[in-house]
């Protein structure tokens, strides 16, 4: 550390810098959560006066098979998307990590799906996955596969949504990994080649560790994004068949907007909130130990 700064000036400066942000966060994020916490002890439909019911909402939720299914679905969806998107994204980035025109073309093609809205994409995929005349079953037919009810089979539906989501977001991890790869100095690879390292060894001992910050970045971004997944469910399956694709945000939306059970929706928010905070804390402690940063300078 260099030149020490007076403690009080740092404090004042620190608060000044975070004040606008904290004000907005408080008003627009924290306050709604606190309000939800308050509402979770009531039953309210936004029309009649609130009725205090204590912990009833929590009790009902925690024993409800549907809520447990929702948590399971959300976990499956999130894990499925994150693992597949990062895995395939990395593979694509490795394959496209050169400056040829063909690569640029492929990159551009793959990235376009990320840019478009969920609404357009969901409608389209609903068609494509139609068991009777969707394009996917049409093509599958040529490969000798019998028609599958992609969105109507209650065991398959959530994985179909995982597939569509991966299809849509894959451009993002690809681009981010490409950036990460291009930031690794070629010197490392040249030295390793001279030492006789194979492609796999180069990946395992050079690429993978040096990609760690990128990987963490993507893991966090994608996990958060999938955890807030809503549009795809709202448009394609509305949580069906029979809750098979009901995930966290959709479930809350359904309770609040379709059933006007604001209290229960709020309790669900608080429960999930608590779960994620616990998970994040655990993840935070885990990652602190395993990440190598390439320090600048």
């Amino acid at each position: 550390m260099g030149h020490p700064r007076p403690m009080r000036r740092q404090t004042l400066l620190g608060y000044a810098l975070i004040l606008p942000s904290m004000a907005f966060f408080s008003a627009f994020y924290i306050y709604p959560v606190v309000y939800s916490f308050y509402l979770s002890f009531f039953t309210w439909d936004m029309l009649q006066p609130k009725r205090f019911i204590g912990l009833t909402n929590y009790r009902e939720l925690l024993v409800a098979a549907e809520f447990q299914e929702v948590l399971g679905n959300t976990l499956a969806y999130s894990l499925g998307v994150v693992v597949l998107a990062m895995g395939i994204g990395l593979a694509l980035a490795l394959l496209l990590n050169n400056r040829t025109a063909l690569s640029s073309l492929f990159q551009a093609c793959i990235f376009t799906s990320y840019i478009v809205s969920w609404v357009a994409v969901s409608l389209l995929w609903m068609w494509m996955l139609d068991p009777q005349y969707g394009l996917v079953n049409y093509v599958a037919g040529f490969l000798g596969v019998p028609p599958v009810d992609w969105l109507g089979n209650h065991r398959l539906a959530i994985w179909s949504l995982v597939g569509v989501t991966v299809w849509k977001v894959i451009g993002y991890p690809m681009i981010i990994f490409l950036a990460g790869l291009q930031n690794i100095s070629q010197d490392y690879y040249e030295a390793a080649s001279l030492d006789g390292a194979s492609a796999w060894q180069q990946f395992r001992y050079i690429t993978w560790p040096l990609l760690a910050p990128t990987t963490v970045f993507l893991f966090i971004t994608l996990t958060i994004a999938t955890f807030q997944g809503f549009d795809i469910v709202n448009i394609m399956t509305q949580g069906g068949p029979v809750h098979a694709t009901s995930i966290y945000v959709f479930y809350i939306y359904e309770q609040a907007f379709h059933y006007f059970r604001i209290g229960r929706a709020s309790a669900a928010v608080i429960i999930c909130f608590g779960l994620i905070l616990a998970l994040t804390y655990a993840q935070h402690r885990l990652f602190r130990r395993n990440v190598h940063y390439t320090q600048v300078g």
Partner: protein, 275 residues
């Protein structure tokens, strides 16, 4: 090149071409559907090319609502949000990363907690709050609740964390003030992260349907995704061709912007920091 290498090469290119095709084909589909008539849309097996092309679908979609205004509003809200997120995010990230003050970690923890609060939960209390101060149905209602981004703040802080303090000290000795340190020194080095986050934010807010819907009560500040939703008619096999034409209005500006910005984005990404 050995024949084995050639085989691998060909397979790789074939695989990549397949992926690219699968990724891009649905767009092609949206574009061609937008030029069919309803009979063509409902046809099975579907025809690949719309012949003859029905350009009037675009006219019909365009006239179904104030699309020029939607487009303008989309630009204002998306980039208004981005600018605020980046500005406030960088300020806060600097404080969280480089300064020490009591309560710093608690505040940062609160910021991280905000990551898990989706808009469907924030809607009702914020609606009531904004209605009370008369800000409903204004740009402020769409922009302000997103003026700060927990994700952005978090990621930029991580990026700043990775920058050594020596540079900062050198700058301070040279007499740089806080804003200069943040925006002239730290930001350029953290540019890849900032670009990556900006991509995420722009795509999300450009396509956002829910928030502009619930915060507005008429067309004054509404955005493109709402315009497209207007085309949809619940229950009918709908007029897909018109809806897809509407979707093109949402998609094309984004694609054009990204094509134009692509070079800059890639350059910013591959910025190799000072060694």
């Amino acid at each position: 090149m050995t024949s084995r290498n050639l085989l691998i090469r060909t397979l790789t290119i074939g695989f990549l071409a397949l992926v690219a095709l699968v990724e891009v084909f649905p767009y092609f589909w949206i574009a061609t559907t937008s030029l069919k008539d309803l009979a063509g849309v409902l046809q099975f097996p579907p025809s690949l090319l719309p012949l003859p092309p029905h350009w009037e679908n675009y006219v019909q979609a365009w006239q179904s609502g104030p699309f020029p205004r939607y487009l303008l509003n989309n630009v204002i809200t998306t980039f208004g949000i981005l600018i605020l997120q980046l500005f406030l995010g960088c300020l806060a990230a600097y404080a969280f990363s480089k300064l020490e003050f009591p309560g710093r970690d608690l505040c940062f923890f609160l910021v991280v907690a905000c990551l898990m609060v989706p808009p469907q939960i924030r809607f009702i209390p914020i609606y009531i709050m904004l209605a009370k101060v008369g800000l409903l149905n204004t740009y402020a209602a769409i922009i302000l609740p997103y003026a700060t981004s927990a994700l952005g703040t978090f990621l930029i802080r991580e990026a700043f964390n990775g920058i050594s303090d020596d540079i900062l000290d050198a700058a301070r000795i040279d007499g740089a003030n806080v804003l200069q340190i943040i925006f002239r020194i730290l930001v350029p080095i953290a540019m890849p992260t900032i670009i990556a986050f900006s991509l995420f934010s722009v795509v999300y807010h450009w396509n956002d349907y829910f928030w502009p819907l619930v915060m507005t009560t008429d067309e004054t500040v509404r955005t493109l995704p709402l315009g497209v939703a207007l085309l949809r008619e619940e229950g009918t096999g709908s007029r897909w061709h018109i809806i897809m034409a509407g979707n093109m209005f949402v998609v094309v500006p984004m694609i054009l912007t990204f094509l134009a910005a692509q070079r800059h984005i890639i350059r910013a990404f591959t910025f190799t920091s000072l060694k």
